[in-house]
């Protein structure tokens, strides 16, 4: 737990989780309030904790972004004029989309194999998917550096096989960042997709084939549409997570590729422009909330995340 709080990636994950709960709450709140008031006493401590440690700091961030250095929307105006912040946003979106696409593809294939495996094999597969979640993000990022650097295992291996003459640039660029982020995100992609695939009756695939469909048609007409809700949920989850990555891009990007989180850190800690830093932070939070709001109109949010947990 302490590990997660210390690492911004883990922190980002938890923050997203809170945001999720928050946005899922209104419908359930309404339902429960009519049920009984005693229930409210039970969640009161959690509510106070959340307000104190989460909502209040966010409001403070929002406040700073419209008061430093002067009161007004000057900081937000820079979104339109400042090339640096625009580059950081575009880079973040680009890497986020690429990461999401690759993580979804790998995660879908993995979930498909797991969902159709025997119950015994499923347990082992799932363990294999979940174990990386318990390894610190720092350890994983440095592990990728050792593998991908110029004298790393991959380059040395390819060279000794004669496949390449000069080492490939695999790290300290966007490629390295994407590798690290995909590796981090695949388990998060697998969980919601696996949950929705497990609800598919395997007899439906047999029925499709018995009715004349090839293996591929059975997959594309039956399995794929039935697993789409999980695919969408995983996509939103992974994309939101990718926007907040900090440690992985910092280590695997080698300081050359700036994503939003690192850009914020530079603004606040290195050049001490609190207004700009908090402005982008606020933009990120809003972007995430908007994504979730759109998504919750398409799919039953609580069911998707509840099933994924």
């Amino acid at each position: 737990m302490r590990e997660r709080v210390r690492s911004p990636e883990g922190g980002g994950g938890e923050a997203t989780e809170h945001r999720r709960r928050e946005s899922a709450a209104p419908s359930s709140k309404a339902a429960r309030a009519s049920g009984n008031a005693g229930w409210w006493m039970l969640i009161l401590p959690a509510f106070l904790l959340m307000t104190g440690f989460y909502i209040a700091p966010i409001l403070q961030v929002l406040a700073i972004s419209v008061t430093e250095p002067t009161v007004g929307l000057d900081n937000y105006e820079r979104l339109l004029t400042n090339a640096g912040v625009q580059r950081a946003i575009v880079t973040t979106l680009r890497i986020g989309i690429i990461t999401t696409a690759i993580a979804l593809f790998l995660g879908y294939a993995l979930s498909y194999v797991i969902a159709l495996a025997s119950p015994r094999a499923q347990r082992w597969w799932l363990l294999g998917v979940l174990v990386p979640l318990w390894i610190s993000v720092l350890v994983r990022a440095f592990a990728w550096v050792t593998l991908l650097r110029r004298q790393g295992l991959v380059n040395e291996g390819l060279r000794s096989l004669g496949a390449i003459d000069a080492p490939l640039e695999l790290v300290w660029n966007e490629f390295g960042i994407v590798v690290g982020m995909v590796h981090y995100m695949v388990p998060y992609a697998v969980l919601p997709m696996l949950a929705s695939m497990r609800e598919i009756d395997p007899r439906l695939l047999a029925a499709a084939r018995g009715l004349g469909a090839s293996r591929f048609t059975a997959f594309s007409r039956i399995f794929l549409p039935l697993s789409t809700p999980g695919l969408i949920a995983a996509g939103v989850l992974v994309f939101i997570f990718s926007l907040g990555f900090y440690i992985t891009p910092a280590i695997l990007g080698g300081g050359k590729t700036l994503m939003a989180a690192e850009w914020i850190k530079i603004q606040i800690l290195d050049i001490v422009r609190w207004g700009m830093g908090t402005m982008l932070a606020t933009v990120l939070v809003v972007a995430i909330l908007v994504t979730l709001a759109i998504f919750s109109r398409v799919v039953n949010l609580k069911r998707v995340f509840g099933a994924g947990a």
């Binding site: 009756d201 007899r203 439906l204 047999a206 029925a207 499709a208 084939r209 018995g210 009715l211 004349g212 469909a213 090839s214 048609t217 007409r221 039956i222 549409p225 039935l226």
Partner: protein, 365 residues
């Protein structure tokens, strides 16, 4: 696929299926003629679904061959067999409407849209679901879902229709109704049907032929009447309705029959190849026993006393305690019982030489 003859003949040759060390189906051979309605009947776990899955192509036989009109189809994949199948639990596609479900087999065959729509409409009509075309399967009752599954399996003119417990998920009244519909449908379209059930009444009322399975073995196959009247084993006699089992010994073999003794009682029984001294097990249906009035006689006569009686509407089910044959269950039609049978009343029972059937004792097989 279908020429002048709508139905196709299916032959199973010595089919065996092993799962690891466990044998689910042993050496099953049978033939279904064109247009016949065959039912595989057996208790749960007897291998019915496994046989059906081998016919459909989802399960590969460990040994043996499957022939369609004499052509070997043992290794043909399921989608190439052109068999319609109604799965246990129906397996309707939940993300498609009723009409889309039924159109699915036509769509994967690449039929033109107009042709497809016409066939779907005709099939919806056949199973009387026209007004439900745009509903989802989850919005239908069990009986309606069953009919959608049937329509989906029939819409592409399959060579053979396979049904895995198509009625067992329905309540009793609906089941009887749909049994009737299924029978009418079979007569109307003239296709070959292979049905699976564990319900002996359903099997008897629907089928031209019934194959009885036990522990993966095909025990006996025949028409419903033949199986009921002439069971070859104790299992078949017990499984198809109620039966009295009488253990006896051959005292004297005759032409086409034998004189048997059971304790001090002598019985005459029509049978072939009896040998003096041999033990014989007879299956005697309760309704083949008559209650003899004073002065009346029969080929076999046994005295007893009523141990218990129950009134069932159409008749009385009476258990009679006898000296040598143990308890015999007797069905007395209501119109024949002059007074209500009561406990302790002495009765004289009689039956003819061909009323009982000699059976093999396979109960612990």
């Amino acid at each position: 696929m279908n020429g002048a003859v709508p139905g196709h003949a299916l032959t199973l040759e010595r089919l065996t299926k092993r799962y690891g060390g466990f044998t689910a189906v042993v050496d099953a051979s049978l033939t279904v003629e064109q247009g016949q309605f065959l039912t595989l009947l057996g208790p749960s776990g007897s291998g019915k679904t496994t046989i059906l899955m081998m016919i459909a192509g989802f399960v590969a036989p460990s040994e043996g061959r499957i022939l369609l009109d004499g052509r070997d189809i043992t290794v043909l994949p399921p989608e190439k067999r052109e068999f319609g199948m109604v799965f246990q639990g129906y397996a309707l596609f939940p993300h498609m409407t009723v009409a889309e479900n039924i159109a699915f087999p036509l769509r994967v065959r690449g039929l033109a849209r107009a042709d497809r729509d016409a066939r779907v409409r005709a099939t919806l009509d056949l199973v009387q679901l026209t007004q439900f075309a745009e509903r989802r399967p989850t919005q239908l009752s069990g009986g309606q879902q069953q009919r959608v599954a049937l329509a989906r399996a029939l819409v592409f003119d399959p060579a053979l229709l396979l049904l895995d417990e198509p009625l067992s998920a329905l309540d009793k009244k609906l089941r009887a109704e749909l049994q009737e519909e299924l029978k009418t449908l079979h007569r109307r379209i003239g296709r070959t049907f292979v049905n699976v059930t564990h319900d002996q009444e359903e099997a008897m009322s629907l089928s031209d032929r019934v194959a009885i399975l036990n522990h993966g073995k095909l025990v006996q196959m025949g028409g419903p009447v033949e199986l009921y009247e002439r069971p070859r084993t104790r299992f078949v006699a017990d499984f198809l309705g109620k039966s009295n089992m009488i253990s006896a010994r051959v005292a004297e073999a005759r032409q086409g029959g034998a004189v048997l003794t059971a304790g001090g009682t002598r019985l005459v029984q029509a049978m072939d190849g009896a040998r003096a001294g041999e033990a014989v097990l007879l299956s005697l249906r309760p309704e083949r026993i008559t209650v003899l009035t004073a002065g009346e006689t029969a080929e076999n006569v046994v005295d007893g006393r009523i141990a218990s009686a129950a009134f069932l509407g159409a008749g009385h089910s009476v258990t009679v305690e006898t000296a040598d044959l143990g308890r015999l269950r007797v069905t007395i039609p209501t119109w024949q019982a002059s007074v209500a049978p009561e406990e302790g009343v002495p009765l004289r029972l009689g039956w003819s030489a061909d009323a009982a059937a000699p059976v093999a004792d396979d109960e612990d097989a």
